[in-house]
């Protein structure tokens, strides 16, 4: 493995709450190679989004840090473009203008006007949205809007692409199409991607590596699973592939056997970060128990580590 492109070292994240600090993440270590596709998976409220936000620079780790290409990450920036769950396009701008806003900002000094226009169109064509340049986000479907969100992120030429449940709000068919698109684009551009997902199939199909997180509070990396399936991958032929089934099995067993019932270990009800339930596990994610005292939490953490 070559020198890490992106490195998270010993990251701790604590949020201030009225009842004292809430430790969301503890000792998170992660090394990511250039061109690697990494999925973060875990139960709701386990701090996946927090990890992503720290890499994005939208949150500051209370301890430890994140280094990208030898530079410490302190602030958000276009080299770490984020695709949000709800596309986050400006509703008053057209599809073209939304991408233009990003391109204008990032390449104002390095590209001519014509070059910028070509680059915007190139990226929109890449996600097959070249036909709806003058549409507003409200006039296109959720799947199309998410494509534009991806085009906007790609147009920033990010050294790492961060995706926070990019397909979580889409129906299954649209999601499958977008996953195929993303796989193709990622393979062609060889971009580094960190994606949060609730979807086991999505994680196995797209990733080079799946990082499974333990339940919060004080969540950390539980297991890592390298997916050595050849690319390009085809969802239909892979469905019967014993290796694919095995990988899927491994993730499921982590999620539902080793890390099931997050409420047993501690209260996740007062988790300050709101995460939407993606794949409806049917399990209650939080009983409204009283917040555990710090000493108990360490105990819970040990228990958790032993479990993992």
């Amino acid at each position: 493995m070559s020198k890490p492109h992106l490195e998270l070292t010993n990251v701790q994240m604590a949020f201030d709450t009225p009842t004292g600090p809430f430790i969301a993440l503890e000792n998170v270590d992660l090394k990511i190679r250039k061109g690697e596709f990494v999925s973060l998976i875990g139960h709701s409220g386990c701090g996946k989004s927090t990890v992503l936000n720290i890499v994005a620079g939208l949150l500051q780790a209370t301890r430890g840090g994140c280094v990208l290409d030898g530079h410490e990450v302190n602030t958000p920036g276009p080299e770490r473009a984020v695709v949000f769950q709800n596309h986050s396009l400006m509703p008053w701008l057209t599809v073209y203008e939304n991408v233009e806003l990003a391109v204008q900002q990032v390449f104002r000094k390095t590209m001519s006007k014509a070059e910028r226009r070509d680059w915007i169109l190139h990226n929109l064509n890449l996600v097959n949205m070249g036909h709806a340049l003058d549409k507003r986000p409200g006039e296109i479907s959720g799947g199309m809007a998410q494509r534009v969100g991806i085009a906007r992120a790609l147009a920033m030429k990010p050294s790492v692409l961060l995706m926070d449940e990019p397909f979580g709000a889409l129906d299954a068919l649209t999601r499958a199409h977008l996953q195929d698109s993303l796989m193709e684009i990622q393979q062609n551009l060889n971009s580094t991607v960190i994606m949060i997902t609730h979807d086991v199939d999505e994680a196995v199909l797209l990733s080079d590596r799946i990082v499974m997180m333990t339940n919060g509070p004080a969540a950390t990396v539980g297991e890592e699973l390298h997916i050595d399936l050849p690319r390009p991958r085809n969802r239909v032929t892979l469905a019967d592939n014993p290796e694919y089934v095995h990988y899927r099995q491994a993730v499921l067993s982590f999620l539902y056997e080793k890390q099931s019932f997050p409420s047993k270990q501690s209260a996740s009800a007062d988790e300050p970060e709101a995460e939407t339930e993606g794949q409806g596990t049917g399990q209650p994610t939080g009983t409204f128990s009283v917040h555990t005292a710090p000493s108990e939490r360490t105990h819970a953490e040990e228990e958790l580590a032993a479990n993992a």
Binding site: P76, P78, S88, N128, S141, H177, D180
Partner: protein
Amino acid sequence: MTTLSQTDQTPAATHWLRALTEKLPRPNLADTGRQLLLPIIGILLFLGFWHLAAPQVQTSLGAFPGPGAVLEQSGQLWQEHSDQRERASQFITMQEQRNERILAENPVAEVKIRSYPGAPTFIDQVVTSLGTVLAGFVLATLIAVPLGIVIGLNRHFSAAVNPLIQIFKPVSPLAWLPLVTMVVSATYVSDDPLFEKSFVTSMITVTLCSLWPTLINTSVGVAAVNPDLLNVSKVLRLSFWTHVRKVVLPSSVPMIFTGLRVSLGIAWMVLIAAEMLAQSPGLGKFVWDEFQNGSSQSLSRIMVAVLAIGFIGFLLDRIMLLIQKKVAWNE
């Protein structure tokens, strides 16, 4: 990729088709008729009630005017206005002719050009009032929108000024007026004033009373920008001004416009009261003068003014709505 683009284009195509059929004119007279029928019935019932009830109310100036008397007076007021215009243009031509004569006899003579000295008519007063209300409203907007943006962006500043807003918001124009009058008389001193003092007084009173809804709505709209969009702005590292211009302002435009519409309504209401009290030219002064005049026609003439005030207020709101539809992205 090919299958993918096809599936996404299908909803686009149906959407486009639907939009087209919606745009096609549907001559649905029955619908329009039904939409107009009830308002017309309402108005007719009101006029009937007014017509029957008015003679029952006896005042020292005779019976309260019914719709007929009011209609007659509105014609009368228009007639007075056109007569006045005619006299004014005669006055101007006579003055020009005289001046030409004087200049023909003696080219270096100084000629005096006077404006027509006649009293302002009802229509003149309406125009004056509109001018004052627009000036006051524009001034209020110029203060309220930038201030609202600052309040919305900065939580500390917001906490600091919020009590002040809450206290000054409910103050009536009548309370402000004496203070504004005194301050304007003391500070607005010039030999050749650009505006009349009475105009400045009314305008400032209108501004003070009408800026609050815009101020509050702007600050709320700015504070309520979707956090995801704020994150996009952060990831793009937009500068402060670009952030305000490209993200904050467009996002809060719908809220700002709702505030502007309320503000304009208040501005118009406040203006009439201010003009009445300050004796500054305008519709309020017209009402007050007619009241003081106390002729047998006064009540009908005041009633004409009341209806005119209502209609103009309604029109102003409609104009704001039209502007909102042009400007706001969600309309």
